[in-house]
């Protein structure tokens, strides 16, 4: 239901330029390699705290942010590395934040769950499920009142759609026709809770009608489908026609957090989704389109691999905060 066909069509109409297709690919590779490395480092106990990996979901942030401008806003989640990489963050300063170093985006105060860069419109990942959604609505309100032409995107999961903050924010954005886009990454689980125990309806997007805004459900492992849906939503938002709801069907490869065996998910289900890896799938498509040859793709992987190692080096060599640094940045 919920507009899948519409988007299949739009997918071609709004197909991005070869350059943009390549940059989406680069983004996916950067997310993939960053997450793989972060997981390794976490298991090697180099990283404090806990880690929520978005391995397998790379197509959503890559496709979505490709439709955005540098100046547009996003709010992210506990599973937010992909969003902020796609919005243009440096891997070294991100890695440094995961290490809790002064060179990290948050000077080591935020960590994996709170990466933010206001210069890039990233208003912060968030540790509270649903916590970023009203904030994104607020940024959209600000963009509208300042007539800045910016749009504001809230990324959140299928579980977050059960939060009251989701309901209040989407409704408010609809009533005020705000330039907001609500992007639900439906990876079908909230920790151990399957979507079928989270709601009765299959598609979260079906809720859009209850707010009087357009809602579509797209293949979240197809970056071009995500991109197409976002282009529509961004046009609507910049055109002053209000918010849209974009549900992206995807799947996270690992458990809820790194270390969670994820026993609650059927092994075959996980295997199937891993087999349908969005990255090679997209690479095949780019090759078929003559946009990126396997050899070129290899080069991208190699280049990103270097970038990652430099990022790890950078993080490891970066200074730890001083204990008293904890007393700064509390009040303006």
């Amino acid at each position: 239901m919920a507009g899948q066909p519409v988007c299949a069509a739009a997918r071609e109409l709004s197909a991005p330029t070869p350059d943009l297709m390549r940059s989406i690919h680069l983004t996916m590779v950067r997310i993939r390699r960053f997450e793989e490395r972060a997981v390794e480092l976490f298991m090697a106990q180099e990283l404090p705290g806990f880690l929520h990996s978005c391995l397998g979901q790379e197509a959503v942030p890559a496709g979505a942010c490709a439709a955005l401008r540098d100046t547009d806003y996003i709010t992210s989640t506990h599973r937010g590395h992909g969003h902020v990489i796609a919005k243009g963050l440096r891997l070294d300063r991100m890695m440094a934040e995961l290490y809790g170093r002064t060179t990290g985006y948050c000077k080591g105060k935020g960590g994996s769950m709170h990466i933010a860069d206001f210069s890039k419109g990233i208003l912060g990942a968030n540790g509270i499920v649903g916590g970023g959604i009203p904030i994104a609505a607020g940024a959209a309100l600000s963009a509208k009142m300042r007539q800045s032409g910016q749009v504001s995107v809230a990324f959140f999961g299928d579980g977050a759609a059960s939060q009251g903050s989701f309901h209040e924010s989407v409704n408010m954005a609809a009533v005020w026709a705000l330039p907001a886009i609500f992007v639900c990454e439906n990876n079908q689980y909230a920790v151990s809770t399957h979507g079928s125990r989270q709601r009765v309806i299959p598609d979260v997007a079906a809720r859009a009608a209850g707010y009087g805004i357009p809602g579509v459900t797209v293949d979240g492992n197809d970056p071009l489908a995500v991109y197409a849906a976002m282009v529509e939503a961004v046009e609507r938002a910049r055109g002053g026609h209000g918010p849209s709801f974009v549900e992206c069907r995807t799947y996270k490869w690992l458990g809820h957090y790194v270390g969670d065996p994820g026993k609650y998910r059927p092994a075959e289900e996980v295997a199937q989704w891993k087999a349908a890896d969005p990255l090679p799938r997209y690479e095949r498509e780019l090759a078929a389109r003559g946009v990126l040859s396997p050899e070129e793709s290899e080069l991208v992987h190699a280049q990103v691999a270097r970038e990652i190692e430099e990022a790890v080096e950078f993080a490891r060599l970066s200074p730890h905060p001083k204990p008293e640094d904890a007393l700064e940045d509390v009040v303006a």
Binding site: Y73, T75, G104, Y105, C106, K107, G108, K109, G110, H114, A116, D117, F118, L123, G124, N126, G127, I128, G131, I133, P134, I135, A136, A137, G138, A139, A140, L141, S142, A143, M145, R146, S152, G164, S165, E168, S169, N171, M172, V175, E328, D329, V330, V331, A332
Partner: protein, 323 residues
């Protein structure tokens, strides 16, 4: 000087700040045409329009969140939460987001948001419309908390709140909106963290919050007739708290009464008493006395409500017991 209502002082502060800085805007329930439940924003929509005096859907979490999001992106919202009892619905946005985003982002976020609300009992509005919850917010690092007790303070503190670059809980009192007071014609601001010595005295120090300041002054006047000299201090903001002024007074009097409507247990009275003791146990002639709301929900019937919320009589009694 002009003699105006507390609600007018709030309104004048908002009007002046909105004229001065176009980034300032208001959002909340029924604050536009309706003018707000206590009419504090009455008429502002006529001057500034519905964009900047923005009625919202009935969604406190989204009101607070929209304020946080717009504050982080170049605006200076003043979000009204109609009753402080309803902040329970917006608590995540106030406490986990507004108060912490600057810190969690390593100092990047500027969140110049004011959460305007009102507290207090005395109107038989029962347990869900009469709480005084300032201690909750004073407990949370990253929040500033102001409690104006007069029109003069309401205007001067609110203008300071709007200009503050971080989140401020601005807590008015529902029974003060129709109280009057002198306010200068020319512009003025009242800095946060500077207590107001409302009345000088030498025998006992009474630190009172919000509407209890008026009760304390009544008590002081009554006690004066009996030859007892009471110093009345209004901290004005409890975060930051001007403990120095309080301590200096207690060094002089050696006796302290703390008075507020909020539930006694874990209220601001405990924090003030403890800080005074930490700094000056030795000059305390007597234990600090708390004159606070009783540890029960606020009842509906006036006879019971008056019993749980202290007044001047209870302050007089406490002062005498310290002598």
């Amino acid at each position: 000087m002009s003699n105006i209502f507390y609600k007018e002082a709030v309104r004048d502060a908002l009007r002046e700040e909105m004229r001065r800085d176009e980034r300032v805007f208001l959002l909340g329930l029924d604050i536009g045409r309706f003018g707000g439940t206590y009419k504090a924003t009455d008429g502002l929509v006529d001057e500034f329009g519905e964009e900047r005096v923005r009625d919202t859907p009935l969604s406190e979490a989204a009101i607070a969140g929209a304020a946080v999001g717009s504050a982080m992106t170049g605006l200076r919202p003043v979000a009204e939460i109609m009753y402080i009892d309803f902040t329970t619905i917006a608590m995540d946005q106030i406490v986990n987001q507004a108060a912490k985003l600057r810190y969690m982002s390593g100092g990047q976020a500027h969140i110049p948001v004011v959460f305007r609300t009102q507290e207090g009992a005395g109107r038989s509005s029962a347990a869900q419309h009469a709480q005084s919850l300032e201690a909750w917010f004073a407990h949370i690092p990253g929040l500033k908390v102001a409690l104006p007790s007069t029109p003069f303070d309401a205007k001067g503190l609110l203008k300071t709140a709007v200009r503050d670059d971080g989140p401020v809980m601005f807590i008015e009192h529902k029974l003060l909106y129709n109280s009057r007071g002198e306010v200068p014609e020319q512009e003025y601001l009242i800095p946060f963290g500077q207590a107001n010595i409302c009345r000088e005295g030498s025998d006992v120090t009474v630190v009172a919050l919000s509407r209890m300041v008026l009760r304390a002054l009544e008590a002081a006047a009554e006690l004066e007739r009996e030859g007892i000299s009471v110093e009345v201090i209004d901290p004005r903001t409890v975060a930051p708290l001007d403990i120095e002024t309080i301590v200096k007074s207690v060094e002089k009097t050696g006796r302290l009464v703390v008075a507020h409507e909020a539930y006694e247990r874990c209220g601001m009275g405990a924090e003030i008493a403890t800080q005074v003791m930490e700094r000056g146990l030795y000059f305390l002639e007597k234990p600090v006395r708390r004159v606070c709301g009783r540890n029960v929900p606020v009842p509906f019937a006036p006879v019971m409500e008056n019993y749980v919320i202290p007044g001047a009589a209870e302050i007089v009694k406490a002062v005498k017991e310290l002598l």
